[in-house]
Symmetry: C2
Subunit: 160 residues, 2 copies
């Protein structure tokens, strides 16, 4: 089995409310989009492979809610939730995101998909309510996991 | 009739994704919160008085959608929409916001209500997907209308 992890750039400028992960995935936009909105596909890349993923709620429509649970090897649960603002098929998804372990700290996530040489450029942006929230998220696994997430997303999208 | 416009601070630091309006309103938190979640009260302060306000959709629950239409004297329609992420009664509302006139530019709005000397401190924060979006919104009426909005919110909340 050959796997190909795409080059992944994570940007979080000091003092900014924003963090973004960018990668070019060798698959059509349609496949990358499907990997975001089809629940079974999403669970295959949403979390690092060592975590079990369970979907509690997932309604990818404007106003639809989502809630996803991760479990580590000890069975510890990590719950995440949000609502979809809108979805433009094969182009863009805007949603909110909150980790229930640090309630009331919410971010706005925008995923965009563009045709480029080599496949689909994926830009996953998050904007936070405070720089502290952004920094905390970046250093608690987000920055480290960004390339892993893009590699897994790539694998799912390329399998379609 | 005596009206009292609260001192209102609008903060939008250069280069930041954020803009915030802060005021202390001489009314209890319960009243200020009700003015945000009861549709009839909301329409009384949501837009400048010269605009007519019509609610197309308003469901203040997690995942609930809202859509509000403004009409100027010429009958020109301005439509705004979003979804609620969550609501903590008398404390906090988190929602998304989009002006349909500039589609796909979304911000995350957080309104918080705190007890302080003199009433309720209201902080209305918005974080944007880009500094351009933030600047565009600030200069297209947001900054200018912020004190008007707080004055009208104050009037509604104090009437309860």
């Amino acid at each position: 089995v050959t796997t190909s992890a795409p080059e992944t750039t994570f940007i979080a400028e000091p003092g900014s409310l924003e963090g973004s992960t960018i990668a070019v995935i060798d698959a059509p936009r349609e496949a990358v989009y499907r990997a975001h909105v089809e629940q079974e596909l999403l669970t295959r890349w949403w979390a690092p492979p060592e975590l079990e993923v369970k979907v509690d709620e997932f309604d990818p429509t404007p106003g639809g809610r989502w809630r996803i649970l991760n479990y580590d090897a000890d069975g510890t649960e990590y719950a995440f939730k949000g609502v979809f603002h809108d979805l433009v098929p094969n182009e863009r998804i805007v949603q909110t995101f909150e980790w229930e372990g640090m309630p009331r700290h919410v971010c706005l996530q925008t995923a965009t998909f563009e045709d480029v040489d080599g496949g689909t450029k994926v830009t996953a942006q998050a904007v936070f309510q405070s720089v502290e929230d952004r920094d905390g998220m970046a250093e608690s696994g987000w920055r480290e996991q960004a390339p892993v997430g893009m590699a897994n997303l790539s694998e799912v999208a390329r399998s379609l």
